[in-house]
């Protein structure tokens, strides 16, 4: 089964990215793996997995998705998970407000990640996730009207 890997954290950009990744995964019947990477060893893998699971539960509760927690260098671990899962795409979030965006970390990771993997990377801007959320809401409204 094909797999899409999505790097997640608690930021709005990452939450938008996981919605896009879920949409992509659903459209091609792929499995979504949401990965949260802790940069430092704190509560080890359990906490990281908990963060990924919480983001999935909040954003795409109905998706066929798996949460994974990793500890270490963010780009290196994402590349390793993509390889391990034989992913066809890695999705990351990017906040684009110009200048020194708050999501600079995400895009820095994307640049590092691109050097470590042969899997294509899709960087989804926050606006795209918001658009997807609005589409979902309007769909829900239509359903309610029916």
């Amino acid at each position: 089964m094909t797999t899409i890997v999505c790097g997640v954290d608690d930021s709005p950009a990452a939450r938008a990215a996981v919605r896009i990744a879920a949409l992509l995964a659903e459209s091609i019947g792929a499995r979504l793996v949401a990965v949260h990477v802790l940069a430092h060893l704190t509560d080890a893998d359990h906490s990281a997995k908990h963060v990924a699971a919480a983001v999935l539960y909040d954003e795409v509760p109905d998706a066929d998705a798996t949460a994974r927690g990793e500890v270490g260098d963010v780009a290196e671990r994402l590349a390793a998970v993509a390889l391990d899962e034989d992913a066809i795409l890695i999705v990351l979030g990017a906040d684009s407000r110009g200048g020194r965006s708050r999501a600079c970390l995400s895009t820095r990771h994307a640049a590092e990640l691109a050097e470590m993997t042969t899997v294509p990377i899709l960087i989804a801007p926050l606006q795209l996730g918001a658009l997807d959320a609005r589409r979902g809401q309007s769909h829900d409204l239509e359903e309610a009207h029916r």
Partner: protein
């Protein structure tokens, strides 16, 4: 016909985030690097699958103004020739894949100009290659950081010598 490689996502995955926007072009940033060749291949595949217009963009920085007239002109001519070669090669690859493409040569800071151009053209997607930069951030990083639309960082080919070195 597409020029997909095994590392590219399947067609449905590549088009799923976009609907009813096929008139919006895909902008692919190209230069003469190996990473750019991967971007050209992926951009052609994406354009074919999405039935979207494809525009190859090369941004040249322009010779430094400190050079005197004759040197400036010579360097400018050389830069323009290289830029033309880069975009012509990309368009030729697209032609071989039976995908229509146009090309633009811009001047300025590559990261900034690509994002501006994508915004001006209402692009649905920006495709970039990723190249290792030792002393400064790459164009892919700047585009990903500042673009207000999806950015597709092309998969590096296993034959890419930089990737082999990194491994």
């Amino acid at each position: 016909m597409t020029t997909l490689t095994s590392t590219s996502p399947p067609p449905a995955a590549r088009g799923a985030w976009i609907d009813a926007r096929s008139a919006a072009p895909i902008i692919a940033a190209v230069d003469d690097s190996a990473a750019s060749r991967a971007a050209v291949d992926d951009a052609i595949g994406l354009a074919a699958d999405l039935d979207a217009p494809l525009v190859f963009v090369h941004v040249r920085r322009g010779p430094a103004a400190m050079f005197g007239g004759p040197v400036y002109k010579r360097r400018l001519a050389k830069e323009l020739e290289r830029a033309r070669r880069v975009v012509e090669r990309a368009v030729r690859v697209a032609d071989l894949a039976e995908v229509g493409a146009e090309a633009e040569i811009l001047e300025g800071s590559p990261g900034r100009r690509i994002v501006e151009y994508a915004r001006d053209r209402g692009a649905q997607l920006v495709v970039v290659g990723s190249q290792r930069r030792r002393l400064r951030r790459g164009v892919a990083h700047e585009v990903a950081r500042t673009a207000d639309r999806p950015v597709f960082v092309a998969a590096r080919r296993r034959s890419d010598p930089a990737l082999a070195r990194a491994a």
